[in-house]
């Protein structure tokens, strides 16, 4: 089975400051990694994903994440946040095609609420 731990439940930052949201995962098979964002009172939207290849992946709205296999981490970063980045962010894993038949099922972390202050 897979598990995902998001190390911070809440992260307050000031506008234009850098931010890092931390995510660690556990799995005995190969996985794909995702970050989803949920704006207030909305559904989830894919921010970025790591499937294979370069370990540094770029997503929408200036976010990026780095896959570190040895540390089983997939931390999300943005060099300068905006008020509009205030949302809840979810890290998730899916068993990869080489790891078995997953039917695309996702295992989510607990979520990190990012609050950007003016």
């Amino acid at each position: 089975a897979q598990s995902v731990t998001q190390l911070d439940s809440q992260v307050p930052v000031f506008e234009e400051a850098p931010v890092e949201l931390r995510c660690n995962y556990s799995s005995s098979v190969s996985v794909y990694l995702f970050w989803y964002v949920q704006y207030p009172n909305q559904g989830l939207q894919l921010l970025l994903k790591y499937l294979s290849g370069s370990t540094l992946v770029k997503g929408i709205n200036g976010f990026e994440a780095e896959f570190n296999k040895s540390q089983t981490s997939f931390h999300l970063r943005k060099p300068s946040v905006h008020i509009s980045d205030t949302a809840e962010y979810f890290c998730a894993v899916q068993v990869s095609e080489g790891g078995g038949t997953s039917y695309g099922k996702l295992t989510f972390g607990q979520g990190t609420i990012l609050t950007v202050h003016p």
Partner: protein
């Protein structure tokens, strides 16, 4: 395309009542999912379906039932509502073969059981 739609947006139930949460997608996706979201707990998979007539349990299926008679619809049924089922419910879908492996989420249904 409307994407994934869910009805109702909000509902209050009394303990023991039953209801069906509706989910429809117009993207011809084979795979569909139901999650529940509780504060500080992330999203937990309730049930999923890989095509019409095929459903299977997720991580937290107790107290729920599903059916998948068409590709488009994947309703979630609560037979005897309990306070522990107070949550926000999200439906999602994705194609069977998708190199992006992206799930598309509906806007959610907020359910309160009193």
């Amino acid at each position: 395309n409307a994407g994934v739609t869910q009805t109702p947006k909000f509902r209050i139930l009394k303990i023991g009542q039953s209801m069906t949460l509706q989910c429809t997608q117009d993207m011809n996706h084979n795979y569909m999912y139901w999650y529940r979201q509780d504060p500080g707990m992330g999203l937990k998979l309730i049930y999923y379906s890989v095509g019409a007539g095929i459903t299977d349990k997720g991580e937290v299926p107790n107290g729920y039932n599903v059916s998948r008679s068409t590709t488009e619809d994947f309703p979630l049924r609560l037979e005897l509502a309990a306070p522990s089922q107070t949550s926000v419910y999200f439906c999602a879908s994705r194609p069977r073969s998708d190199p992006n492996n992206e799930q598309f989420f509906g806007p959610g249904t907020r359910l309160t059981v009193l």
